[in-house]
Amino acid sequence: MAINILIVDDSGVMRSMILKTLRMTGVPLGNIHQAGNGREGLDILDEQWIDLAIVDINMPVMNGEEMIDRMHEDPEMKEIPVIVISTEGSKARIERLEHMGAAFIHKPFTAEIVRDTINSILGLGENDES
């Protein structure tokens, strides 16, 4: 099963890094969509079939935490798995995100961490890869 992924980060370089890393993970990729903030991310979620959202926290216009909150309020979006990729170092803030149902990856990250987190949150086994 190919996975359609939305990458939301205000840094174009970081979006490219995440995309490059996704291609190294062996996870079967479908369509990859990109957004520069939470508002744009919600617009794409509204229009496209997305299996996984990868979201930064500190972004202009709408930050990642607010985007996740809005997703939870929308019946069409609330079940979409979310991985937060951020530099956040506070245990309390990371726990709050995890309580919201998001998995957390700390920057800088490796392809192995991204792969394992995706497999865990989507319940993928080895047979689903490549």
């Binding site: 174009g12 490219s16 170092g89 920057k107 800088p108």
Partner: protein, 166 residues
Amino acid sequence: MRAKLEEIMSKVTIDTLEKLAFMFAFPCEGEEGEPSDSIAAGSVSFTGPFSGTLVMTISIEVLRELAANMLGLDDGEETTEDHRSDALKETMNVVCGNLLPAIAGDEVVFDIGVPGVLPADQEIKRGAGIPDAIEPSARVNLDLDEGQCVLFLFLDGEIPKDVVSP
């Protein structure tokens, strides 16, 4: 305290450059001033149990390599000015985001501002909005194959002793 801050800052920056861009940096001691060749500079401010600004100056050649590696460009592919600015800002964001918990632990909360690129024609402290009288609380010089990277940590006052991670 300064030696400890510099040790942490050096370790965090070396680790960040390696993991973000597969670039290997080494501390070089005893050098003052900024990188002698053409440089770019950026800054990011933070607030929390202690507040301040992290400033990074970086040789243009290091920045070109940093941006190309972060983007995964092939040899010969050129980065744009936007790529390089974005790479510098994102690197500063990651260094700062890892530096603060390395100093103070993960129980405290910091708010990290939006990183910015400093104007090329201005003195660094002025460009970063740091008063002339304030000296850096820590400074780290790193050598890379392509040039140098220098980090300055400016603090608004002292770091409270009770927030420093053992």
